[in-house]
């Protein structure tokens, strides 16, 4: 299916979306947490367990060869998705969190020392904040948090001022999970490289919504999760420059990542196998490869244009509602609309909306620095995927009116 055939046609690819919740059509607007899965991804996962359930790169039998081919194919799909130059620059992990933690250990512990600085932003998801807090604690380094302005955009002026030869790493979200802000990562990378710092981009919210080209961005690390990209849970990937991976030690050791093993010492395989100890998540990787094929067929440029238009529509529709205050109004935003309603707590609104079949997220979205910046405990977050359209925003607005009736707000 393609975008031009309309979201109703795309919705038919996702069996979960045909459900009814409390008697209403499911309007799923919690895609920043996880997306629903198209039938082809579900089928591929089942196919893995029914047709090529074997260990990867081990068995010489037919199922083993199929398994290895499927796993290698999935890695090639990730390389294509990120436009990476080499396939061995792609390492599979359990998810984006695991990938970022890996970089903090395998690269951070080697290259960040006392007096050095690591830069993150106030927009970060906890998964791109806590690993760096911990790294700085371990290494006696300083963590600097780039502030955001009242619209939820990064203060590039502050960032540029803070960069110095002490800055060893900049870790920043491509797209904010709490506000939808698209950060100017290309510019940030250019500035960071000017002082010799490396840059990790957390692409968890970006890869499903826009084309990504790690070479054009010139980034050093790029991490994302499969389950937010219409793929299975428990699989994610890291892109890292070949020369960086070559110098990084394994964090986990065990089967599948060695060259020679002796009783006292062993030599390790080269990247990416060196970083993938143990039996890999083949069903996850295959499903992810299939999900990448799916978004490629729909077209990431078309998805991005659709998403951007939907965010603009949702902002307009919500801003017209009494008592609604948008949280985060960045010029460039994708996927997310965050707001609060006077007199109705996000948690209560979430319950009312659920009764109307509308699934949104109420809470701090694992971004407590953002909540603190806007002096709120929580927001309501509607987040979009390729199968959402204006009718879903209409359902959200209708549910909001019902909530006002319940609470007299």
């Amino acid at each position: 299916m393609s975008m031009s055939e309309g979201t109703a046609a795309l919705r038919r690819d996702f069996p979960a979306l045909s459900q009814h919740i409390h008697g209403h059509r499911l309007v799923y607007l919690d895609n920043a947490a996880t997306t629903q899965k198209p039938q082809c991804v579900i089928d591929e996962t089942v196919r893995c367990y029914t047709e090529y359930c074997a260990n990867v790169h081990r068995g010489a039998h037919t199922l083993g060869a199929r398994a290895s081919a499927a796993y290698d194919g999935a890695r090639a799909a990730v390389q294509r998705l990120l436009a990476a130059e080499h396939v061995d620059e792609i390492v599979f992990f359990g998810g984006c969190t695991a990938a970022i933690n890996f970089v903090a250990r395998a690269w951070g512990d080697e290259h960040v020392g006392p007096g050095d600085e690591v830069c993150v932003s106030e927009l970060e998801h906890h998964s791109n904040l806590l690993p760096w807090q911990e790294l700085c604690k371990r290494r006696g380094a300083r963590l600097r948090v780039i502030p955001i302005d009242e619209r939820g955009e990064l203060r590039l002026d502050v960032y540029a001022e803070w960069l110095s030869p002490r800055t060893k790493l900049v870790a920043v979200a491509h797209v904010s999970n709490a506000l939808g802000t698209v950060n100017p990562v290309a510019e940030m990378i250019r500035l960071a490289h000017g002082v010799g710092a490396r840059v990790l981009v957390d692409g968890a919210q970006a890869v499903s919504r826009q084309p990504v080209d790690v070479c054009a961005l010139d980034c050093d690390f790029y991490a994302f999760s499969g389950h937010k990209l219409y793929g299975p849970f428990g699989i994610g990937a890291l892109y890292a420059r070949r020369e960086l991976l070559a110098g990084m030690p394994p964090v986990a050791t065990g089967g599948g990542m060695v060259e020679q093993v002796e009783s006292e010492r062993s030599s390790f395989a080269s990247a990416p196998q060196r970083f993938e100890a143990g039996t890999p998540n083949l069903a996850g990787a295959s499903g992810l490869g299939c999900a990448i094929g799916y978004v490629e067929r729909v077209g990431l440029n078309a998805i991005m244009a659709h998403d951007r238009a939907l965010v603009a529509h949702a902002r307009r529709a919500l801003a017209r509602q009494p008592g609604v205050q948008l949280i985060g109004t960045a010029d460039d935003a994708l996927g997310v609309v965050s707001f609060v309603v006077e007199g109705i707590h996000p948690h209560d609104l979430s319950t009312v909306l659920d009764q109307a079949g509308v699934a949104i997220r109420a809470g701090h979205h694992c971004a407590q620095l953002v909540m603190r910046h806007f002096d709120v405990l929580a927001t309501v977050r509607a987040s979009f995927a390729l199968y959402n359209d204006e009718s879903d925003v209409d359902a959200l607005v209708l549910g909001l009116a019902q909530a006002r009736a319940v609470f007299g707000a």
């Binding site: 948690h347 929580a378 007299g408």
Partner: protein, 152 residues
């Protein structure tokens, strides 16, 4: 809308809009603070206890309607009770709202007539047992109260 009007009964909305005994008790002997990491709700309870009896209690709740109403109703329910009576009521309340691990077995069935009588106005909150993601909203203030008073 019927499940919603069951959940957000008039007495709950009333306590939410006009919480009883808000703020902090000036001559408190006991206090505790707690929060729900899922939604960020924060509850502070201050109490004055003498001779193992609650002589005064205030609840400051920053959170959703259920959290605020529960904290407000709690302050009326436990005033004048002995610590062991508070402990008993807290356990009964948590069981009635379906809290996992409540001392009295949690059930999805309605509390019995005698249990309803014991719970009194608190019974209005029992409907949250049908909204599992909201149970914690109703029990947070009771957990904070138990921590403040040092009772199980």
């Amino acid at each position: 809308m019927s499940e919603l009007t069951q959940l957000y009964q008039e007495s709950i909305l009333d306590h939410h809009r006009r919480p009883r005994n808000p703020g902090c008790l000036p001559d408190a002997t006991h206090s505790s603070e707690g929060h729900n990491p899922l939604c960020g709700d924060r509850v502070t309870i201050t109490a004055r206890v003498a001779d193992a009896r609650v002589l005064g209690v205030c609840c400051e709740a920053r959170g959703c309607a259920l959290c605020r109403a529960s904290g407000s109703m709690l302050t009326e329910a436990v005033l004048g009770l002995t610590l062991s009576e508070v402990s008993d009521l807290a356990a009964r309340f948590c069981a009635a709202v379906g809290a996992p691990g409540a001392r009295t077995p949690a059930t999805s069935v309605e509390p019995s007539d005698s249990e309803q009588a014991r719970l009194g106005p608190l019974l209005a909150l029992a409907e949250v047992r049908n909204f599992p993601s909201r149970i914690r909203c109703a029990t947070l203030s009771w957990d904070v109260l138990r921590a403040a008073l040092g009772i199980g």
